[in-house]
Symmetry: C2
Subunit: 254 residues, 2 copies
Amino acid sequence: MAEKWIGVVGGVGPFAGIDLLGKIAAETIANQDQDHLTALNWSQPAKIVDRTEYLLGQVAENPAGALAAQVQQLAQMGADVVGIPCNTAHAPRIFNQIRAALAAANCDVHLLHMIEEVGRFLRENLPEVKKFGVLSTTGTYRAGVYVEVLGALGFTAVLPPFPLQTEKIHPAIYDPIYGIKACGLATPQAQENLNEGIAALKTAGAEAIILGCTELPLAFTAPTAAGLPLIDPTRILARALIREANPAKLKPLI
Amino acid sequence: MAEKWIGVVGGVGPFAGIDLLGKIAAETIANQDQDHLTALNWSQPAKIVDRTEYLLGQVAENPAGALAAQVQQLAQMGADVVGIPCNTAHAPRIFNQIRAALAAANCDVHLLHMIEEVGRFLRENLPEVKKFGVLSTTGTYRAGVYVEVLGALGFTAVLPPFPLQTEKIHPAIYDPIYGIKACGLATPQAQENLNEGIAALKTAGAEAIILGCTELPLAFTAPTAAGLPLIDPTRILARALIREANPAKLKPLI
């Protein structure tokens, strides 16, 4: 089987796309540069309106059109399997439109669904955990992305109380002064907010935490927080892309 | 002036390309995702033979052909200004051939020369330092890339003694067990070897150290080592790409 080419829609956000590329490289079995997979990254963030703002009704334009255009550009460059490292873009109101736009353009590239890949990963690797806490943007929160996908698989997703979500969790990602998007790293304030979220989710019975925004893994380098395992959808998407491109090069899970 | 698009030839090596993309994002003035620059990354490492092996006569094929093809693909996708985050690829025997191949193909994309950008940076920002130590692959070492470019600017480049270069410095990058390329990070053994190199360069009179292989910044998070300032050509290339794409978005140097 010929090795397939990986495409990545970058820029949503910029650091999340780069994190995904890094995780693809890190999860690939390679002894030298030449062993690494072909990866194409198209990052044109100015064209893609904020996914959360769209879901909350603050902008009218659905980002699906621009996202689909970038998936198509990747396909035209030769990408066979594509990932979008943005949880919020997987809300049905956005992701279904991306799929519709690709179908309308007769683009048959294999676009992975990051959240479905997370569900598959949990079913295969953490079947004993039934209740997952989810940290995310308010867009992902309100769209119920994880609640729906995990629910369909028999898991329960618990979310932080809404005031905590809007006053602490979302700003940890988006605040222009201390947010991860603006700073490219987790500032002490962002870290403190997120720790508060994890404590609330633990109190609500969460047995593991899904870092449900692709900026959040930047805030957590350890595999656990407050004693709970952390689930990194970016890493899961990276592994799924390698699996589809060339499963023989996927590192064993450790 | 319309904002220009940045192209990156990734995969040489994979982690260096990702490091460059990360530094482009980190050096860009942006308050939200949409403010970031358009960046296209073409990473097809299987096509590009090892640059050092070519310079040392261990493989016959000049990697310039494959590198030029990837620059052309970036240009076809719309990139206006392109960088190749691999010091060894800037040896004249490789880089001059890339330029010749692009000219023959009538590709007038603006391809930056990373080492010339380093020279420009040093002249503008460290004019008082006259003697630079260089850590690099043995390919860059033997090709005299930095010695030549810095010499033309009136600086002196000092290199580690040859046995130290081949037994410690090159393996810190390339060793299949502990090298940065294979591991994606600086293992303790790689770090120890590099520290030995810096000590030798300091003894030889170096007043600053150029991390002259794009894998090396992964080993150094502090701005100095053994009391000497560290110069990161990847960061300099990132800043040069932003300068060419949209100078108004280049963060001030700190």
